[in-house]
Symmetry: C2
Subunit: 256 residues, 2 copies
């Protein structure tokens, strides 16, 4: 039964997609069967794995709205063990379309249940908001991985996100836990970055991953080639960090 | 009659709030009467100008839902000529609450009309999405200023945003134009950044501001003190760039 991870933070640009794509690739590299679901209407995770917006005709929107079966939208990637369900532009309208639907928060959970046995991990990339798409993800997930940019505004939004996770746990999904907080885009020379990391570790203790993702220009370049960092530049500090994160997560789950 | 500017881009973390706060401060520094409206439930623009989330009890949400008059939520800032209407946490629910409302896209336009004569510029900070809050902003605005991070994923989302602006111009707001595309967080040593800037200027020509905002750590520090960059560190490259942007905009509007 797959472990389902939500990559969520309503603060924009904190590294949700970059973490979703590269952690998925890292776990696949270590032999885990992985599915990445792109639930962000921007479709960055899809193009980051080689599915450019104009090439994708069906995706997670069609499954959420029950126009298609989930098996018809599971796409292969260049990596063994990694499949992706892309986002199409229709997803922009999904939040409004789902408002009146029955059991609207459980749509994603229902469809993922059908494939959960085929994977070891399912990662879901979320948009930068706490709307119905993110609620669907938090309802379907076993745990939330929170990418946190080491900046002031990003710290501010953390409380709101934790309150939302707590509310979902009390209502829609009692088993939802925090996988961990991941410090991203860390520049060790920057006083503010170091201060944010210190505060986060002091406050959340082992709720923060030991692995820290450094700022690394290769992480920004890889998506323009439709590749994960482990394919684009496996020796880069970015690739090494995401592989270390994959190992840390596997270790926490007792998988060697 | 105020010139109403929307700071919009559904891509997250591209510098919408940083531009809203610091351009507002720059215009105020040059003697313009400025109102900054925080329409992002995250409330970053509010705290960036000294109104921390826990101190704010009423804001733009109360005005949009017609619980309060706009005059009761216009707050002073440390800068002459600059007032702010903060965001409260209720704003998170506004998108869902407005779905069934009549003329739901015109709410913001209606309330801003009442105060437009008191200001030379009104800047509206948007959340990273194309939902009802952003639609309200695009309907109320005269022009859209598009902060664009010099990165691959940010370029990808530009088409979607331009299509939305075009759709709003054909329907809800025929006078909506583009104020310009602003390249942000530019690191001149980074090949990808230089390439993105080159492509944007090639494609949009004078639709791109001459002023480019460099990556400058002081811009990330200023919000933690609740200050704009022109107060926190006026000699920084970040402050100089936002003052240059203010001058460029004033020049384009024939204001010396
Ligand atoms: N560690 C890093 N080093 C350098 N650049 C990075 C790093 N992580 C992410 N980036 C770049 O920063 C930008 C923001 O990251 P990303 O798009 O993954 O964030 P996000 O949280 O998914 O954004 P959104 O809120 O829009 O979904 C992207 O252009 C990405 O390539
Ligand atoms: N030119 C710059 N140099 C350095 N840091 C910057 C610059 N512009 C913005 N930042 C920092 O980058 C982060 C993202 O910027 P900001 O929050 O303004 O983007 P945004 O588009 O408003 O994000 P969101 O989509 O979440 O609303 C913030 O922590 C901000 O302090
Ligand atoms: Mg993303
Ligand atoms: Mg913002």
């Amino acid at each position: 039964m797959a472990h389902i991870l939500a990559l969520s933070n309503q603060k924009g640009g904190v590294g949700k997609t970059t973490t979703a794509v590269n952690l998925a690739a890292g776990l696949a590299r270590y032999g885990q069967r992985v599915l990445l679901v792109d639930l962000d209407p921007q479709g960055n995770a899809s193009s980051g794995l080689g599915y450019a917006r104009e090439d994708v005709t069906m995706g997670i929107y069609d499954v959420l709205m029950e126009f298609r079966d989930i098996d018809s939208v599971r796409m292969p990637t260049a990596l063994d063990n990694l499949e992706v369900i892309p986002a199409t532009v229709d997803l922009v309208g999904a939040e409004l379309e789902l408002v009146g639907a029955e059991r609207r928060e459980y749509r994603l959970k229902k469809v993922l249940n059908r494939v959960a046995d085929d994977y070891d991990f399912i990662l879901i990339d979320c948009p930068p908001s706490l709307g119905l798409l993110t609620l669907n993800t938090l309802t379907a997930a076993n745990a939330v991985l929170i990418p946190l940019q080491a900046e002031y505004y990003a710290m501010e939004g953390l409380g709101e996100l934790l309150r939302t996770i707590h509310a979902v746990r009390k209502g829609l999904n009692p088993e939802l836990v925090r996988e961990g907080i991941l410090v991203t885009m860390m520049d060790g020379r920057n006083k503010l970055c170091r201060e944010v990391e210190r505060q986060v570790r002091h406050h959340f203790k082992e709720g923060v991953f030991e692995t820290v993702i450094p700022r690394n220009v290769r992480l920004g370049e890889a998506p323009s080639y439709g590749k994960s960092i482990v394919e684009y530049d496996p020796r880069s500090t970015g690739a090494q960090a995401y592989l270390a994160l994959a190992r840390e997560i596997l270790q926490r789950h007792g998988i060697s």
